[in-house]
C-alpha cells in the first residue's frame, strides 16, 4: 500500500510527539498512570505491572485482588523489557499501538461507509474529511495522548473495536468477528457491539454479492465465529493462568459486580457508595440493563446506518460504563469526525464542547481539592463527573438527532434545508 506523504507526516509527527513528551518529561507517564481519570481498576498499567510481577514469579496474578485484566496481556508484556529500566520501549510499543489504531480509523474513513452505505446515502456527501484528517483528529486528541502516555490497556480494547469495524466495512466479516471477540475478551462490554457490527457486515456482503444470504443464517454463522473466538481466547487464558473460575471472577466478575468503587469519570462509583446494601444487586442489574438497552433501540431506529449505531454506542459506553476513563471518550471522539457531514445539523456543539473543556480542566483541580488538599469532598469531584457526562450526553444526543435528521431529509428530499423545531 502506498502511504501518502501527508499520512506519513501525520503519523510520524504523532509518533515523535509521544516520544518527545516521554523523553523530556520522564515523570509524565507515571503521573498520568496514577490519575483516576485515565487509569481505572480495569485498565491501569500499575495494576498490570503488579499482575505481571506475580505472573513472572509463578504466582497466580489474581492473588491479592489488585489485577483485574485479561490474562493474555501478561505473556505479551512479559516479552517487553522491564519498564523500570527501559521505559522508552514500553512507550514506543504503546505509541505504535496508537498508530495502528489510527490506521484502522483511516481505513474506516476511506471506505466511505459513514456517508454511503447499502440502505443510506447522506445528503451532504461532499462535506467530509479524508482518512488522514480523521486519523489526525484521533492522534492529536489530548485524551488519546494522555491514554497512550499512561499506558492504559484500554488501547487494546480500542484496537479490537476499530479493527472489527474496519474489517467489517472492508467486507471481511470473519476478521471483524475475531477482532470483536478480542475486544470483548479484554473488556466484556464490546460484546454489545455485536448486533450493529453483524448488520454492518451483512450490508457489506449484501452489497457485494448479487444474492445475499438469508439474514438469520448470516447472523447464526457470525454468532458462531464470535463465540468461537472468545472461547479460544478463554482457552488460551486457562493455559496461562491454570484456574478458570479464578480468572473469570477476577476479570468479568469484577466488571459485572463493580466491587471497586475508586472514583472515576463515570457515574457508577458515587451511586454505589451511597446505595443501601440490600438494593445493590438490583441497581447493578438496572445499570447494566440500562447500558444494554440502548443496543436494541438504536439498532432498530438507525437500521440504515449500522456504523453510526456503533459510534453512538461507543458514546453510550463512554458515559454509562462501570469503569469509564478518558480513553473511552477518546474512542468516541475518534469516530465522530467520520460524520463530518452531520456537523451542520448539530445544534449544541458549543455547549457540549464547553462542558467537556470545563470538566476536563476543573476535574483534576477538584480531585486535588478533595483527596490531597482535604478542603473539598467527594461531591466536588462527582459534580464534575456529572458535568462531563452531561457534556458527552449532549454531544451524543445531538449527533443522534443530526443522524435522524439526515435520514429524514433523505426520505423527504423536497424539504431539504428547512429548519426543524421540536415541539
Amino acid at each position: 500500500m502506498v502511504v501518502g506523504r501527508r499520512k506519513a507526516a501525520v503519523f510520524g509527527t504523532a509518533f515523535a510527539l509521544r516520544l518527545i513528551l516521554v523523553y523530556f518529561f520522564p515523570s509524565l507517564p507515571d503521573l498520568l498512570t496514577g490519575r483516576v481519570e485515565v487509569s481505572t481498576p480495569v485498565n491501569s498499567f500499575k495494576r498490570l505491572q503488579e499482575g505481571l510481577h506475580l505472573y513472572m514469579r509463578n504466582v497466580s496474578p489474581y492473588d491479592g485482588g489488585v489485577f483485574h485484566q485479561a490474562p493474555l496481556l501478561l505473556p505479551l508484556f512479559s516479552l517487553l523489557p522491564n519498564v523500570r529500566y527501559h521505559p522508552i520501549s514500553t512507550a514506543i510499543f504503546f505509541a505504535i499501538v496508537d498508530l495502528v489504531n489510527a490506521h484502522a480509523l483511516a481505513k474506516i474513513s476511506e471506505s466511505g461507509q459513514s456517508v454511503q452505505s447499502r440502505l443510506h446515502s447522506a445528503m451532504r456527501k461532499n462535506i467530509r474529511w479524508d482518512g488522514t484528517t480523521v486519523a489526525a483528529w484521533f492522534l492529536f486528541n489530548p485524551f488519546t495522548i494522555a491514554t497512550c502516555l499512561a499506558r492504559s490497556t484500554s488501547v487494546f480494547t480500542t484496537s479490537g473495536i476499530l479493527f472489527a469495524v474496519s474489517n467489517a466495512v472492508g467486507g471481511n466479516s470473519l476478521n471483524a468477528m475475531l477482532a470483536l471477540g478480542l475486544a470483548s475478551y479484554l473488556a466484556l462490554y464490546p460484546a454489545l457491539l455485536f448486533v450493529p457490527l453483524v448488520l454492518l457486515s451483512y450490508d457489506q456482503r449484501a452489497e457485494k454479492t448479487p444474492q445475499p444470504p438469508s439474514i438469520s443464517h448470516f447472523v447464526a454463522q457470525h454468532v458462531g465465529i464470535f463465540v468461537g473466538s472468545i472461547a479460544g481466547l478463554l482457552g488460551l487464558s486457562v493455559l496461562v493462568t491454570g484456574n478458570f473460575w479464578e480468572f473469570i471472577s477476577a476479570t468479568y466478575g469484577f466488571h459485572l459486580l463493580v466491587p471497586d468503587l475508586t472514583p472515576n469519570v463515570g457515574l457508577w462509583w458515587y451511586f454505589f457508595i451511597e446505595m443501601f446494601d440490600s438494593f445493590r444487586e438490583f441497581f447493578l442489574g438496572v445499570f447494566w440493563l440500562h447500558l444494554a438497552s440502548y443496543v436494541g433501540g438504536l439498532t432498530t431506529r438507525l437500521r440504515r446506518q449500522p456504523l453510526f449505531v456503533i459510534t453512538s454506542l461507543l458514546g453510550v459506553f463512554a458515559i454509562f460504563k462501570p469503569y469509564p476513563s478518558i480513553s473511552d471518550a477518546s474512542l468516541f471522539f475518534a469516530t465522530l469526525p467520520l460524520y463530518r457531514h452531520l456537523f451542520p445539523f448539530m445544534r449544541y456543539t458549543f455547549f457540549a464542547v464547553s462542558a467537556l473543556l470545563y470538566s476536563s480542566l476543573l476535574g483534576p483541580a477538584f480531585y486535588h481539592l478533595w483527596i490531597y488538599a482535604g478542603s473539598g469532598n467527594a461531591n466536588f469531584f462527582y459534580a464534575i463527573t456529572l458535568v462531563w457526562s452531561l457534556g458527552l450526553s449532549v454531544l451524543l444526543a445531538d449527533s443522534i438527532f443530526a443522524a435522524i435528521r439526515d435520514e429524514w431529509e433523505q426520505d423527504h428530499p423536497e424539504r431539504r434545508g428547512e429548519e426543524v423545531k421540536q415541539v
Binding site: H290, S293, G296, G297, S393, L396, E418, E419, Q422, V423
Partner: protein, 568 residues
C-alpha cells in the same frame, strides 16, 4: 442522564416542521409536517418494543431476583412456647450418696430412708430437691477426685455429694465436717446414737437432713430467684446484689493482669509462673462453665488521676491510707491503658499496684485491707514489697523484680476476686461444691436466657414481615431448640455438666440467630423508604418509556377499531 431516552425517542416522533424560509414570504404560512409513513410508524413501534423487551425479559426477572426477601420458615409456635416456659420446667434433682461403712446394711437403709423423709419435710422448693442413695462401699474412694470437674461420663446422674457417716467416740451430739477440696461431707456421731430401725425420726437423720439443707440453701435460693425472673425468692435482695457484682455470663472471658507502679521499679514480675501456679488449676476447674484467655502488662510511671484524692499518711498506722469512699477514683481510667474489651469475650481486669517508695506501705484506711473488688470490672491489689536500700545515699526503692513468691498473696486474692466476679456462690466452703452449684445455676440461667431470646426472635419476625430470614438463622434456631430440649432432659436426669454444655451451645446459637447482620440491617428500613430508593432513578427513566408505550397502545387500539369498523 436520561435525556437521551427522550431525545431519540420522542424527538423524532414528535418533530414538526416550521418553515423559516424568508425568501418565499407567501409560502411562509403554516405548513403541516408530512404524514408519517407506515414505515416510520413501524420503526417507532420496533424501537419501543426493543426497550420494553429488555425491561420485561431482563429487567423484571432481575428485579424479582434481587429484591425478593427470603424468609426461611421458623417454628414460631415452638419458640414462643419455650419463651413462655410451657415446654420445659427445669428441675434439679441432686443425687447424694450416703456411705455408712460402720453400720449394718439394714441400719444404713433405714438411715437413708428416714433422712430422705426429714429432707422432704424441710424442702419447700420443689424444683430443687436432694435424692439420697446408699453408696457401694467400693466406689467411694475414687469418687471424690472425679467429682471435681462436676462431670459424669456415664449415663447416670452426677453425684453431687458423698456423705460419709462415721462413728466417733467421746461425742455428745453429731458433728459434721466438709472437706474443702472434695465433694465429701463427713458426719461424726456418738456411737450411742446409732439409729434403731424402729425409730421413725432418729436424731442422726434429722441432723444429716439439716446439714444438707444448710449446704444447699444458697444455691436453692439463687435458682429460685433465677427461675422466678428475679422477682421473688427467699432472700432476693442479697442474691440480686451478688449477681449485680458478678459479670454477665459469657462463653469466654478475657483476663487482663496489669502491674502498675508510679515509679521506675519494679520492671518485671514472674507473672507466667504465678498464673501457672496459683490460677491455672482454678481456671481448669472452670472449663465446663467458661473458657478464659489471659494477657498481662507492666506499666511504669502510672500516676493517679489528678482528680483522685491522694493517699494520706496515717501516724497511728504508720502507713499511707486511701479512704474507702475514694477507692472508686483509684483507677486512672483516662491514662492507664486498660482495654475495655479485647477479643470477643468481656474483659476482667486485675490490677496489681505497687506504690511509690515514698508512699509505701499503702492500705485502705478503714480496715487496713490491701485489695478490693470493682463490680463487673475486676479487682485491685495493693502490693507493698519490702523496700531495698540500693545506693549510698540511703534512698529506698522498690525491688526491680517481683518473684513468684512475692506475688502469692496477690494471686490468692485475685483468685477469690475472680470467683466472686464470675458469680460463684459464697457457700458452702468446699470449692468443688461451689463450682457444681455454679454449673446448675448457670445452666438454669442460660436455659432461660436462650428461651427468651427465641421468644424475642419469634416476636421480631412476626412484627416485621418485611425483614429477610436467612437459612442460617433457621438452622441456628433449630439447633437452639434441640439443644434446649437436650438441656431440659439432662437437667431432669441430674446430669448437670452435660446440661450446661448443651445450654452453652443453645445460648450462643440463639444469640447468633438474633443478631444476624442481614436481618438487623432491614429492621429500620420501612416499606415507604423503597419509594425513595426507586423513584429518583427509575422515575425519570420510566416516564418516557411508559408514555411511549401508552401512545403505541392507543394507536394500535385505534387501528384495530378502524379495521373492525371498516369490516362492519
Amino acid at each position: 442522564m436520561t435525556d437521551k431516552f427522550e431525545d431519540h425517542e420522542s424527538r423524532h416522533s414528535s418533530t414538526s416542521l416550521k418553515s423559516v424560509d424568508n425568501a418565499d414570504n407567501q409560502n411562509s404560512a403554516q405548513r403541516v409536517p408530512p404524514p408519517e409513513t407506515p414505515e416510520a410508524i413501524q420503526t417507532r413501534f420496533r424501537v419501543i418494543a426493543a426497550f420494553w423487551a429488555v425491561i420485561i425479559f431482563l429487567g423484571f426477572p432481575i428485579w424479582w431476583k434481587t429484591t425478593s426477601i427470603y424468609r426461611a420458615h421458623l417454628p414460631i409456635q415452638e419458640m414462643t412456647e419455650w419463651s413462655e416456659g410451657k415446654i420445659c420446667r427445669p428441675v434439679f434433682p441432686l443425687e447424694i450418696q450416703i456411705a455408712a461403712p460402720a453400720l449394718q446394711m439394714t441400719e444404713s437403709q433405714h438411715l437413708v430412708r428416714t433422712t430422705q423423709h426429714a429432707l422432704d419435710d424441710l424442702n419447700e422448693f420443689a424444683a430443687h430437691h436432694l435424692r439420697l442413695k446408699l453408696a457401694n462401699a467400693t466406689d467411694l474412694s475414687d469418687n471424690g477426685a472425679s467429682m471435681l470437674s462436676g462431670q459424669n461420663t456415664g449415663d447416670g446422674a452426677d453425684t453431687a455429694l458423698t456423705v460419709r457417716v462415721l462413728s466417733e467416740d467421746g461425742l455428745s451430739t453429731p458433728r459434721s465436717e466438709l472437706h474443702a477440696e472434695t465433694t465429701q461431707l463427713d458426719i461424726f456421731y456418738p456411737p450411742s446414737q446409732v439409729p434403731v430401725p424402729s425409730s421413725s425420726n432418729p436424731a442422726l437423720s434429722v441432723f444429716i437432713a439439716e446439714e444438707l439443707q444448710r449446704l444447699y440453701s444458697e444455691e436453692k435460693a439463687t435458682i429460685a430467684y433465677i427461675l422466678s425472673g428475679g422477682t421473688s425468692g427467699p432472700d432476693a435482695e442479697s442474691i440480686s446484689r451478688r449477681l449485680r457484682r458478678s459479670m454477665k455470663y459469657a462463653d469466654t472471658y478475657h483476663l487482663s493482669f496489669s502491674l502498675f507502679t508510679p515509679g521506675a521499679a519494679p520492671t518485671s514480675w514472674d507473672i507466667e509462673a504465678a498464673i501457672q501456679e496459683y490460677l491455672a488449676p482454678l481456671l481448669f476447674a472452670f472449663t465446663p462453665i467458661s473458657n478464659f484467655t489471659i494477657d498481662t502488662q507492666v506499666q511504669m510511671y502510672a500516676t493517679f488521676s489528678p482528680m483522685a484524692p491522694p493517699p494520706l499518711f496515717d501516724e497511728v498506722e504508720s502507713a499511707w491510707t486511701l479512704k474507702k469512699e475514694d477507692l472508686s477514683a483509684f483507677i486512672n481510667a483516662a491514662e492507664w491503658p486498660l482495654n475495655p474489651s479485647i477479643g470477643n469475650g468481656p474483659t476482667l481486669n486485675f490490677v496489681l499496684y505497687v506504690p511509690d517508695p515514698s508512699q509505701s506501705p499503702m492500705v485502705v484506711k478503714e480496715n487496713r485491707a490491701s485489695s478490693w473488688i470493682i463490680p463487673q470490672w475486676g479487682g485491685v491489689f495493693l502490693l507493698n514489697p519490702p523496700l531495698e536500700t540500693t545506693d549510698s545515699s540511703g534512698s529506698r526503692t522498690n525491688p526491680a523484680h517481683l518473684s513468684q513468691d512475692s506475688l502469692r498473696p496477690a494471686f490468692m486474692t485475685f483468685s477469690h476476686q475472680l470467683l466472686t466476679l464470675l458469680g460463684t456462690p459464697a457457700t458452702p466452703s468446699s470449692l468443688p461444691l461451689r463450682l457444681q452449684s455454679m454449673i446448675r445455676v448457670r445452666a438454669a440461667a442460660l436455659l432461660l436466657s436462650a428461651s427468651s431470646t427465641m421468644g424475642s426472635l419469634a416476636r421480631l419476625t412476626e412484627s416485621l414481615p418485611s425483614i429477610p430470614i436467612p437459612a442460617t438463622v433457621a438452622a441456628s434456631v433449630a439447633k437452639t431448640l434441640s439443644q434446649l430440649s437436650a438441656t431440659c432432659s439432662h437437667l431432669r436426669e441430674g446430669r448437670f455438666g452435660a446440661a450446661l454444655a448443651s445450654a452453652r451451645i443453645a445460648e450462643s446459637e440463639a444469640e447468633r440467630s438474633f443478631f444476624e447482620k442481614s436481618m438487623v440491617g432491614q429492621v429500620y428500613f420501612p416499606d415507604e423508604h423503597k419509594v425513595a430508593v426507586y423513584l429518583p432513578l427509575l422515575g425519570p427513566v420510566g416516564v418516557p418509556l411508559i408514555v411511549g408505550l401508552m401512545k403505541e397502545v392507543k394507536r394500535l387500539v385505534a387501528a384495530w377499531k378502524a379495521r373492525r369498523l371498516s369490516k362492519a
